[in-house]
């Protein structure tokens, strides 16, 4: 056998061996390795770190997000103060469950993860490190929730595996935006109509019809109303009936306490639901609704809104406003009154409504978790703790002092128009700002007692940044902020169970109710656009109802009732203690 042959055989053998070794499961079980017992470690605190002391970690966010550039300036500052740099990647093109399922199957975990509706899957796969001991160890983390609230995060095995990052108010609330769902309408439409009182769905569509018919600006391609039906965002078409009936956002069901005992009600089959869809059907017939609504993607939807072409839609503030308002600011459409004003509609006149949720809604279904891919959990939790430090928190949300904001002699933070414009510029955000937006954070008042934790909640800054048409509109309705425009849960207490979606979001096919929930979702995805577009609404509706009943919604409702009862009982017990 000559030399060449030996070499070629060896090469082939090496290739096979390499391929085989690539297949062996990684031993990702570094959990607990460095935990505890090393109080004198110097890499857990905020100090000045040299380049070679900084560790690079990863984060996966189960929602679409804007990736920031490598070498982002604020990220570098934070890295040199905390010793940790986190590369964030976001969901693209898939659903979050698909992405998380694929991560579990490949065992290729990021260090930090917010798996959205897939958190339960990560827990079931034993992929997360329990928070319990670290909550006690790190005061900034502990401060996030009261012990009773932390308890709500406990899973079946009694441990806490994630913590929700949002709606935590420090000190006094400074809420200025309506960070919830509403029927939105452009400020210019209200102005044109002379700021009428819009109470019901019928009023709302009348307004849109009138404006579209008059079309005072003579615009081409005006879309009076559009709806998003894509994937999980189809709540834009789907869940309005619960609000129209005057209930708060329990998300998947209505909790009716009118009879004394809180009872689960399915908002998909109520009379209000039927009237709502009949109205949409009627408006579709009048060509008031975007003919592409059923097939548009989120990106196309945002593009339409950003062009200022869409007069109104039903959506959550966070689903469109951050992107769309920034574009309006950049293109000057905000001066023309394209900004959206929330309207709290009901199905009939004179009903209570609870579109806005004041205070902190604790969504225990999802949050930030640390995975078993982390070989130094102590440092990971120290990092989360450090991110909540006031100076770092300011860096995250306000930016760099004297560059992104100024401080007056009273210690009040303020921004110039130029700074505000820069902060809404995509390019600048990617190269300069680093919010670590899916790590725990505070709203409300800063620890200095003067400023807001976040610039958008700083009252003076909020008004300075507001476009004139919006200010005029607020004035006309006697409101000063967005929440004033809309009814809220402030006047009425929400139940101890609120919000119920924190349970249904995590249901999966392991129970009959979860299977039904999944099937109901598919059924609604399929039929809701169809009934809106149907030429014969009644027959389309009854066909939909037949298909819907076939999904066995009752088993879902039964499981929700069980959870509701459990929550009420748990709350009563907590109070008794």
């Amino acid at each position: 056998m000559n030399f060449k042959r030996v070499v070629s055989v060896l090469c082939a053998a090496t290739m096979v061996a390499a391929a085989v070794s690539g297949c062996t499961p990684k031993n990702g079980n570094g959990a607990g390795a460095g935990a505890g017992g090393d109080a004198d470690r110097d890499d857990l605190v905020i100090r000045d770190y040299a380049d070679d002391e900084i560790v690079d970690w990863t984060f996966f966010g189960g929602m679409p997000g804007a990736e920031i550039n490598d070498g982002n300036e604020v990220q570098e500052i934070i890295a040199h103060k905390t010793g940790v740099r986190v590369k964030e990647t976001w969901l693209t093109g898939q659903t979050v469950e698909e992405a998380v399922g694929a991560i579990i199957a490949s065992e290729d975990y990021p260090v930090f993860i917010d798996g959205g509706d897939g958190m339960q899957m990560l827990y079931e796969a034993d992929a997360l490190i329990p928070w319990d001991e670290y909550i006690e160890k790190y005061p900034n983390i502990k401060e996030l929730y009261s012990p009773a609230e932390w308890d709500k995060f406990r899973q079946a095995d009694g441990h806490i595996y994630w913590c929700n990052q949002f709606t935590n108010t420090y000190g006094e609330s400074k809420q200025t935006t309506h960070n919830d769902e509403a029927f939105w309408v452009q400020a210019r439409v209200l102005e044109w109509a002379g700021y009428p009182t819009i109470e019901t769905l019928d009023d709302y569509f009348k307004l849109l019809e009138d404006y579209a018919a008059a079309n005072p600006d003579g615009e081409e391609g005006l879309i009076p109303y559009t709806m998003l039906c894509e994937d999980w965002r189809y709540f834009c078409i789907e869940n309005a009936p619960q609000f129209l009936d005057g209930y708060p956002n329990d998300g998947s069901v209505i909790v009716d306490s009118s009879s004394g005992k809180p009872t689960i009600v399915d908002y998909n089959t109520t009379d209000t639901a039927k009237r709502y869809f009949a109205k949409l059907n009627e408006e579709y017939g009048k060509k008031m609704i975007d003919p592409e609504f059923a097939t548009q993607t989120y990106d196309q939807y945002i593009a339409k809104l950003s062009n200022g072409n869409v007069l109104g839609m039903c959506d959550q503030w966070w689903d469109f406003a951050f992107t769309v308002n920034d574009v309006f600011k950049q293109t000057g459409l905000d001066k023309k009154g394209c900004n959206y004003i929330p309207l709290g509609l009901t199905i009939d006149k004179g009903m209570d409504q609870m579109w806005h949720t004041y205070g902190d809604t604790q969504n225990v279904a999802s949050g930030l978790g640390v995975t078993i891919a982390c070989d130094d959990p102590d440092r990971a939790f120290a990092f989360i703790n450090n991110l909540l430090d006031q100076d770092i928190h300011n860096l995250r949300f306000w930016g760099e002092k004297d560059v992104d904001y100024l401080v007056d002699d009273q210690g009040l933070f303020y921004r110039t128009d130029d700074m505000r414009n820069k902060a809404s510029d995509t390019e600048y955000k990617a190269s300069h700002l680093c919010k670590y937006s899916y790590f725990p954070q505070w709203g409300g008042t800063s620890r200095d007692g003067i400023n807001a934790m976040m610039p958008e909640e700083q009252t003076s800054d909020f008004f300075a940044g507001l476009a004139q048409p919006v200010i005029d509109c607020f004035e006309a309705y006697g409101a000063s902020t967005y929440p004033d425009m809309i009814g809220s849960t402030k006047d009425k207490e929400v139940g101890v169970w609120f919000p119920m979606y924190s349970y249904s979001n995590n249901m999966n096919t392991s129970t009959p109710g979860g299977t039904a929930w999944q099937k109901m979702g598919e059924c609604k995805h399929k039929y809701l656009p169809q009934i809106v577009m149907a030429s014969d609404f009644e027959s389309a509706w009854s066909e939909y109802m037949t298909a819907y009943e076939a999904c066995d919604p009752q088993s879902f409702l039964d499981e929700m009732q069980e959870e509701l009862d459990r929550r009420i009982k748990a709350a009563a017990e907590a109070e008794a203690e």
Partner: protein, 323 residues
């Protein structure tokens, strides 16, 4: 070539082989040892990458949880299959997969051959090369790009609607993606656009292998272009055609994933979803890997069935075949 491909020819060849069969001796083994080592390497490779993963099929009979793994999960017998076969939407995906698979197979197959023959008839090399290069370039685009092009072209403000409205066929934009019946043709069209040029390459190669003397002889006999195609080119590439048809038949159930996944929407999901997407939706994203595996097994079994049947048909008609 075609002579060897006939049924009697095949039997004759087989008899010859049987007569030629040698005794296996150590000397023979030693003589062929390099070949044997190579063969063994490929057997090992095949075992590791094709057979070992089949162990995962156990999942289909378990209530698999990532926590307990393959060895600790509870066995549930055939209940996952029962659930699957009772699910109406699963049968829809089977129908869609078969439908789109067969349409894709037939159209792409015919178009590739036609295109290869047409291209072969272009005598000047310059234009021929240009056309060939342009035609196979789309193959290198990813599906996401192709989907983007499709969505733009077919959207209400896209070129297709614009043209149809300018010509006066439509008076308002037509939403192509809301029509369940149009989904399969759209998919077939996208596949054709992307793959025809690429698929034609192999036929072009087969045509090049045909002895030019045959064409010269035919010309002397007075055969025209059409007759040369019919009597020389087509019979010349017949065996290639048969083998490719058989191999692609096994791929019918791989009717696609990306395209359907990216183009689907709630209104037409009954006609757009394929088995692969079903596996993703119910298996991976509902954390029910067992159900996903069961659907995967079903797909493999049907695919094997299709190959065996197609192969048997080829055998009966005395054509080239795989095994």
């Amino acid at each position: 070539m075609s002579r060897l491909g006939s049924a009697s020819g095949y039997r004759r060849r087989k008899r010859q082989q049987e007569n030629m069969r040698k005794e296996i001796t150590w000397k023979e083994i030693k003589y062929q040892k390099t070949l044997i080592i190579w063969a063994i390497l490929f057997v090992i490779y095949g075992f590791i990458f094709y057979y070992l993963p089949l162990g995962g099929w156990l999942m289909a009979f378990q209530n698999y949880k990532a926590k307990t793994g393959l060895f600790g999960s509870e066995f549930v017998g055939l209940s996952k299959f029962k659930w699957l076969f009772n699910d109406e939407s699963f049968w829809n995906t089977v129908r869609n997969t078969l439908g789109m698979g067969i349409i894709n197979l037939v159209t792409s197959f015919i178009m590739a051959i036609v295109f290869a023959i047409l291209l072969n008839e272009v005598k000047s090399t310059g234009p021929k090369k240009v056309v060939q290069t342009i035609s196979y370039l789309p193959h290198f685009l990813s599906w996401i790009v192709v989907t983007g092009i499709l969505q733009d072209a077919l959207s209400s403000t896209g070129i297709i609607n614009e043209v149809l409205m300018k010509v006066g066929i439509l008076d308002q934009p037509f939403n192509f993606f809301l029509q369940p019946k149009l989904f399969w043709p759209i998919v077939a069209f996208a596949n054709l656009w992307k793959e025809t040029g690429w698929n034609a390459i192999i036929y072009l190669a087969a045509i090049t292998a045909i002895d030019p003397e045959l064409y010269e002889a035919a010309e002397i006999d007075g055969a025209g272009r059409w007759q040369k195609i019919k009597n020389i080119t087509l019979p010349g590439i017949k065996s290639t055609i048969m083998i490719l048809l058989l191999m692609n038949a096994g791929n019918v159930l791989n009717a696609g994933f990306e395209l359907q996944y990216l183009l689907e929407n709630g209104a037409i999901v009954d006609w757009s979803r394929t088995i692969d997407i079903y596996v993703l939706k119910w298996g991976v994203s509902q954390n029910d890997f067992s159900l996903g595996t069961a659907a995967g097994i079903f797909k493999s079994v049907v695919s094997i069935g299709i190959i065996v049947v197609a192969n048997e048909l080829a055998k009966r008609t005395g054509e080239e075949r795989l095994f």
